[in-house]
């Protein structure tokens, strides 16, 4: 019996065939991975399933009957819940209120039954590993806990199908475990789950079946365990398997030729910031990629931001090419040759409403202008150069960046940084949330840039990326340096050991 079925569905947008005869079956109690590069049609398929889009052709069947969801509300009422990457709740309201929003228990007088609501909320959330006071404002919870509340809420609405769109992208490892526990519960209750993620490890741990989309078509569907990892990647990419095997999973080529005695291009000495960073020191030589390792909350992003002048620093010094950066601000840092790629692309990276051209030129406008007047000719030159070099796929320089795929947005952001001709590139999760193809491109670009003599600081939660990409890894914990991996020690095992050793005997901090 199928719980939710999509038969030969097509969906066309002006100029693009987003879904082309896609069929997809979800059985009760099944955890079904939906994978594909950005632009493969995953989002569109989800939107068809949840009533956001209406299919142009084909059929949707729900619990063995033809179904038609005119709005997301329709789908939700029928029992199809969706959890998005970003939490869609109300941060200023209490946890319990968020959980019961629109379905609050009432007393006989029709008033809000707060006592019952709090009691039930507490019980429900305990099952999701959230043991907080349910009267707290939701916004004060860690992101992972918020996601659990969202999940609990989604399942509470008598869901038969739960669609999860990259649910773990903002979770800590511990929270991921809780989520997986919940997924197993749902599975046991016969709820069907559609699981979208770029993280292969997770897919193999939690999913039973997989459907791979490419260019709007289903290229493979079947049992996941029977599908070799490397075959999954090659199906997704449409690449030759042997090439994937030969080149490894990441686009990094390996070590960079760095003169060991070259003067460092970036020196960080004793960087401290109230409570978050303690006496962080390291140096980066030209042509070297230094990774910052550690768990979430170890202070990696804060370190990056502090160097880039975007995080308050109490003491310590940052020097570029031997010259100290006095009272660092973002303006001074960029001028000194430090380019920062923030972790949160949408909130701090791209300007979604502006064009590709404006986004790329943003940081270098003064150089491309005379007496404060911008020169479109010079801007177009730069923009064309970087669109070519980074192979940014856009309809043209005038396209809104918000309309591009995640990978292309990231490339636009990198183009903006490179246009400043930096000496140091600070990359915070450069490949997060972008498709496999763009990921490999970004990785090889980082390689290339290091080859040209740039100093790179790389933060990545993807151990593979960190190990293959970096020449050295500085490991942080609780805002302090706890170890460094060099040379042959730069391995996943060594990284995990260093992190684990540092964590030993200490309680994991709560944030």
């Amino acid at each position: 019996m199928a719980l939710l079925e999509v038969l030969d569905v097509s969906k066309e947008f002006p100029g693009v065939r987003a879904l082309d005869g896609v069929s997809f079956t979800l059985r009760p109690g099944e955890v079904h991975a939906l994978v594909g590069e950005n632009g493969a049609g995953k989002s569109t398929l989800i939107k068809v399933l949840t009533g956001v889009h209406q299919p142009d052709g084909g059929e949707l069947r729900y619990r063995d009957e033809p179904a038609r969801f005119a709005t997301p509300m329709d789908a939700q009422r029928a029992g199809i819940s969706t959890i998005y990457q970003e939490v869609n709740l109300i941060p200023l309201m209490s946890v319990a209120h968020n959980l019961f929003l629109g379905r609050e228990p009432r007393t006989r007088l029709g008033l809000l039954d707060e006592a019952r609501m709090h009691r039930e909320a507490g019980e429900i959330l305990r099952r999701y590993g959230v043991t907080t006071d349910v009267r707290r404002q939701l916004g004060t919870l860690a992101l992972g806990a918020q996601q659990m509340v969202a999940l609990a809420r989604a399942v509470m609405i008598d869901a038969k199908v739960v669609i999860m769109d990259e649910p773990t992208s903002s979770l800590e490892p511990r929270e991921v475990e809780t989520l997986f526990g919940v997924i197993r519960d749902l599975h046991a209750q016969g709820i069907g789950i559609v699981y979208v993620s770029h993280r292969l490890d997770e897919l193999y741990r939690i999913c039973d079946t997989v459907t791979i989309l490419r260019d709007g078509r289903v290229v493979h569907t079947g049992e996941l365990a029977a599908l070799e990892r490397i075959r999954l990647v090659s199906l997704m990419l449409g690449r030759d398997m042997s090439a994937v095997r030969r080149e490894g999973f990441t686009g990094f080529a390996g070590e960079h030729a760095t003169a060991a005695d070259a003067a460092p291009v970036l020196e960080v000495t004793g960087l401290s910031s109230r409570r978050r960073l303690h006496d962080i020191s390291f140096a980066v030589r030209p042509g070297e990629v230094v990774g910052l390792g550690g768990l979430l909350g170890a202070g990696r992003s804060e370190t990056i931001k502090a160097i880039g002048g975007a995080y308050p620093v109490d003491s310590g010094r940052v020097a570029v090419g031997g010259r100290e950066l006095k009272r660092p601000t973002t303006v001074r840092a960029v001028r000194a040759g430090i380019a920062t790629q923030p972790e949160d692309r949408k909130a701090e990276g791209i300007v979604a409403g502006l064009s590709v051209r404006e986004n790329i030129a943003l940081a270098v406008l003064p150089r491309l202008s005379r007496f404060g007047l911008v020169s479109d000719r010079r801007i177009d030159e730069i923009v064309r150069t970087y669109m070519d070099r980074l192979q940014i796929k856009a309809s043209g320089p005038d396209q809104r960046v918000g309309d591009l795929s995640g990978g292309n947005q990231q490339k636009v952001l990198l183009a903006r940084l490179l246009a400043t001709r930096p000496r140091i590139l600070l990359l915070d999760e450069p490949t997060r949330g972008i498709d496999v193809g763009a990921k490999a491109e970004v990785q090889s670009l980082v390689d290339e840039l290091a080859g040209e003599g740039l100093g790179v600081v790389l933060v990545s939660s993807d151990a593979e990326e960190l190990i293959e990409g970096a020449d050295r890894v500085v490991v942080l914990r609780d805002g302090a340096v706890v170890g460094e991996l060099r040379g042959d020690d730069v391995t996943t095992e060594a990284l995990l050991q260093t992190i684990a050793a540092a964590a030993e005997g200490e309680t994991p901090d709560d944030h």
């Binding site: 002006p14 987003a18 632009g39 880039g308 973002t330 909130a347 406008l365 918000g402 795929s405």
Partner: protein
């Protein structure tokens, strides 16, 4: 959420905020030509243009501020302040008086800009302070009295003609061109839009965000003080309690009706002018047809709602 390279937007949704205001003006003009006696008479058009000029000037500054996702409530009070200062310094000559009132605009803008950019107050709160305090100060300066102005040079600015058009209209038109040029062609203009689009991102890109923001508020206040001194020049008296009263609402309306989204990141300068013209035309039409002012306000409200509805734009996808 994974975004895909697919942009689906119905044509009308793009068209309405960009050109709706022009279409509405054309329709209203056609209606008036057909049904309003003497609408095309030069004396009528002239009055309409003179009346709309101060709103246009103030709305230009407002459009810049709104482009940064801000708002400036203090513009009316700045006009009053400029108006109150004019008679005090007219004894030193027209230029001195004008300079002093412009300087007052610069100071108010610096305060507003500093509160928003450096202190980090929300624009609506930051400018509320001088919305209240500015007019109070103006009343203190003027002693709460209405003062007649008898300086011919100043009066020429407000009531004179040049090449057949009122000076007011020339000045407003010139300022429109300047602001349009600033928005389109200057580094400052592009930075302003980027700040409105995504301030943290612009900051990380190394743009001196605070400086740009302060400059925007200064420009807005200076434009308001120009409107204030022109108002004095036109009515030939300085009345700090009446000059620029409620003009912040007309200015915001003009900007919004002109298709500039309140969420920042985009400024439509010509649209703002058109927005001011449209609202002026609506009022004029209803007066000419002897409709009560209450129904005028209802129509204005409807236009604002349509404009806001049309301009609503998701900031990111």
């Amino acid at each position: 959420m994974t975004t895909e390279t697919v942009a689906i937007r119905p044509r009308l949704k793009n068209w309405l905020p960009a050109y709706g205001v022009y279409a509405a003006i054309v329709l209203l003009v056609l209606y008036n030509v057909a049904f309003t006696p003497n609408f095309l008479a030069w004396s009528n058009l002239r009055i309409q243009l003179i009346q709309v000029a101060p709103v246009v000037i103030v709305a230009l500054g407002m459009a810049l501020v709104i482009g940064t996702e801000g708002i400036d409530l203090s513009v009316g009070s700045v006009m009053a302040l400029a108006a109150a200062l004019i008679p005090l310094y007219l004894g030193y000559g027209v230029l001195a008086a004008i300079l002093v009132s412009l300087l007052a605009g610069v100071l108010v803008g610096l305060v507003n800009g500093t509160l928003v950019a450096r202190v980090g107050l929300q624009p609506i709160v930051a400018t509320l302070a001088l919305f209240v305090g500015g007019r109070g100060l103006a009343l203190v300066i003027s002693g709460g009295r209405l003062k007649d102005i008898r300086n011919d040079d100043l009066i020429f600015l407000g009531s004179g003609d040049f090449l057949g058009l009122p000076m007011l209209v020339w000045i407003a038109a010139l300022l429109v061109l300047v602001v349009a040029f600033v928005v389109r062609r200057t580094v400052f203009g592009r930075r302003l839009l980027a700040i409105g689009g995504n301030r943290p991102a612009t900051e990380l890109a190394g743009v001196p965000v605070k400086r740009v923001l302060i400059t925007v508020y200064v420009l807005c206040s200076v434009l308001a003080s120009i409107a204030g001194l022109l108002a004095v020049a036109r009515i030939q008296s300085s009345d700090a309690s009446a000059v620029g009263l409620l003009i912040e609402l007309s200015a915001i309306t003009a900007v919004v009706v002109g298709g500039t989204p309140l969420t920042g990141g985009r400024v439509r300068v010509l649209g703002t002018v058109a927005g001011a013209l449209l609202m002026q035309l609506v009022v004029a039409t209803m007066i000419k047809h002897n409709l009560p002012s209450s129904s005028t306000e209802m129509v204005q409200a409807a236009i604002i709602l349509i404009a806001v509805y049309a301009a609503r734009e998701r900031k990111s996808r």
